[in-house]
């Protein structure tokens, strides 16, 4: 049965190549976007940590910054 699934009447090479190519691209794209995200997230944490208390409280007054800080671990 496994042999039939791999061979597919002689079309296995084409079918499996198409599926493997598709999912290889999925993994590569996911990895690239994830790396970009992690890079920006790290940068945000570093920059926020470098702010003094006055600057930090001003930054926190912006709702999106609060959202980023509160959700950063969930993303």
């Amino acid at each position: 049965m496994i042999q039939d699934l791999l061979n597919m009447n002689g079309y296995g090479f084409y079918v499996w190549t198409a599926f493997i190519f598709t999912f290889f691209n999925f993994i590569i794209l996911y990895a690239i976007i994830k790396i970009q995200f992690e890079k920006e997230k790290k940068k945000f944490i570093l920059k926020f940590g470098a702010l003094n208390s006055k600057q930090a409280s001003f930054a926190k007054s912006q709702s999106i910054n609060r959202e980023i800080l509160s959700n950063i671990s969930n993303i």
């Binding site: 699934l5 597919m8 009447n9 002689g10 079309y11 296995g12 084409y14 079918v15 190549t17 198409a18 599926f19 190519f21 598709t22 691209n25 999925f26 794209l29 996911y30 690239i32 976007i33 994830k34 970009q36 995200f37 920006e40 997230k41 940068k43 945000f44 920059k47 926020f48 702010l51 600057q55 001003f58 930054a59 912006q62 709702s63 999106i64 910054n65 959202e67 980023i68 959700n71 969930n74 993303i75």
Partner: protein
């Protein structure tokens, strides 16, 4: 109405959504793979090579859908000066481009056993290649230009020219004699594809749509944090 599309309003949703979308994507993809590789029947003419349809067709549908969305959002964003629409468009482009490449390559792989050739300059394939070039131009424009206004103008022009190609892709099989068969699935009339093949195709399309949603959400969150990083420099 457009105020609901402001980044700070939707970030609370987009930041939490990826993990749920990823879980759903894995579930739907697993069902789709079992259906398309094991349970769906082989074609009486094309035998098992027909299974390539389950990755080729959804990829082609989604790349067309994404480019159309990018074009509409860019145009509305440009007319009404809504920056977030450009951000959404930018975040949609990577998955649209990858699906375009997948459609071209898997189509080429399917072409060899079906038509006896890896590539032919037929209307459908050529117009899909042109779409890939528009995607590439669009993505490059975001990298090349620094000035926001210039980026918005250039990307909108690219998408306006690019969208002319969408009906050409769709109707190329009707307007010209091509190696591609006419559409088997029609929303307005009865589809000529049997349900045993239609169901796996729909499931795989749903899985691919979830993947592009996942990539969009991750990219959108990245872009928002990138903007906020620049904002922190100015404090």
């Amino acid at each position: 109405m457009f105020k609901y599309f402001e980044p700070n309003k939707i970030f609370s949703i987009t930041s939490r959504a990826p993990k749920y979308v990823l879980t759903l994507f894995i579930i739907v993809l697993s069902i789709g793979l079992i259906e398309s590789l094991i349970f769906s029947p082989e074609d009486y003419k094309q035998s098992h090579s027909v299974r390539i349809m389950y990755v080729h067709v959804p990829a082609a549908w989604i790349t067309l859908g994404i480019f159309s969305s990018i074009s509409i959002l860019s145009l509305i964003g440009f007319i009404f000066k809504i920056q977030n629409f450009f951000l959404i468009s930018k975040s949609l482009a990577p998955s649209g481009f990858i699906f375009n490449i997948i459609a071209l390559v898997t189509g080429s792989i399917w072409g060899k056993p079906t038509w006896g050739t890896w590539w032919a300059w037929d209307a459908r394939i050529t117009s899909m290649l042109i779409l890939a070039l528009f995607y590439l131009l669009y993505l490059l424009a975001w990298r090349i230009y620094q000035d926001k206004e210039r980026i918005y103008k250039v990307t909108t022009i690219i998408t306006i020219f690019g969208i002319i190609n969408i009906p050409i892709i769709k109707y190329s099989v009707d307007w010209w004699n091509t190696l591609h068969q006419p559409a088997s699935i029609n929303i307005l009339s009865k589809s000529s594809i049997h349900s045993s093949m239609l169901i796996p195709l729909i499931i795989m399309t749903a899985a691919f749509a979830l993947f592009s949603l996942l990539i969009f959400l991750m990219k959108y969150n990245t872009e928002l944090i990138k903007i906020k990083n620049k904002g922190l420099d100015r404090i």
